[in-house]
Amino acid sequence: MANVQDIRRRIKSVKNTQQVTKAMKMISAVKLRKTQERLLALRPYSTKLDEVVRHVVGRLRAVPTLQPGPVAQAFLAPREEKNIHLVLVASDKGLCGGFNANVLREAQAFLRDCPSHVAHFQAIGKRSIEWARKRQLKANGEHTGLAVTELKQVASEIAAQAAEQYEKGEIDALYVVFNYFQSAVAQVPMVMRVFPVEIEPHVEFRAETPHLLEPDPNEVLEHLLPLYIETELLRCLLESSTSEHGARMAAMDKASSNAEEMIAKLTLNMNKIRQASITNQIIEIVSGANA
């Protein structure tokens, strides 16, 4: 039977762990709030940009007389997807529940079912780099230890690179695998095709006169595409980062309450043992006195 001293020691160690998990939970909560603010701030911008892109593309697709330039083509007439550029976004650190496992499983499934060749692969976060190494996937670009403020820079670099590759014909599509931030407790891994843009037939053509495209439609598209890719990538990175903190917060919350439970059990156990030994001693004294 374990003695009281041992159990006391264990309670102490569990308490220490609980303090660590509690602190991590609080840190994650703060970081979650910060990244979430950024994500929310990006939303009006990206919604508007998306609206503009859909409007322009929807209209230009209806006008077949246009001779699109190489970049504009990515929007208007998707090529057959032979080579793709894949960006995999995971986190640098663990201790965030199923966050990394889920997104990596999603990536695995995507690679298995994907008929096209991954011509260019980019890994963001240590976990995705390790994952790629294990599967002997050569990463053409790796990013680790990114602060929230650096995401914009990274997004614009990747966007510029992808647009250039598309123009050269090295890739036909850009995909991102990341965790979509549904709420602080629910993160959904998903695969998104950034371009070519998928557009439902434009039903709600706005009643007002269609926009003039200045200086000309091609020019507008050539400016719009990089901006659009950049914004979408930034959104994915922010979604992933927000999800990470959300997942970590949930995991650490769970860990803290588990520790609480364990302490309660151990304390109960300890008291029982202590009481048992006291009872024993009393019995001994009483029986000694009786004798």
């Binding site: 701030a41 914009k152 926009h211 495209l213 200045e214 200086p215 507008v220 400016h223 719009l224």
Partner: protein
């Protein structure tokens, strides 16, 4: 005086400006300035770097804008800018520092890419400075 146009300036980081104004001028990427009065025909055009001028209650104002897109409707101007600041978001000392840094980089620049990057930073700081000097003159 009525302000019939809704001017909105959005960046990926925040909503920079949103108010009703009566006249807007913004720089385009290639064709110089674009002036917008009420009931302008809808236009979509890339935005360049520079100052956006607008009239609010008969008072001239300006803000900075760097790249992006403009969507113009009869009663609105929406600028989707890569970066943008209103006057009160600018800090003169910081701009001064930024300008010194850009000048130093410009001197040290060895290849074309570094030269261009430094030049861009210098231009941006000049535009911001211009915005500040305009504001104090009113």
């Amino acid at each position: 005086m009525s302000n019939p146009i809704k001017l909105e300036v959005l960046t990926p980081e925040r909503l920079v400006f949103s108010a009703m104004v009566s006249e807007v001028q913004f720089p385009t990427a290639q064709q110089g300035y674009y002036g917008i009065l009420p009931d302008h025909t809808p236009v979509l055009t890339p935005v360049g770097d520079g100052l956006v001028f607008f009239q609010q209650d008969d008072q001239p104002h300006c803000l900075t804008v760097f790249g992006g897109f403009a969507e113009v409707g009869p009663d609105r101007v929406t600028l989707l800018a890569r970066e943008s600041e209103t006057i009160d978001q600018l800090n003169p000392e910081q701009i001064e520092r930024e300008q010194q840094q850009a000048l130093a980089l410009l001197k040290e620049a060895k290849d074309e890419a570094a030269l261009q990057a430094a030049q861009r930073r210098l231009d941006a700081s000049l535009i911001r400075q211009q915005a500040l000097s305009r504001d104090t003159s009113h």
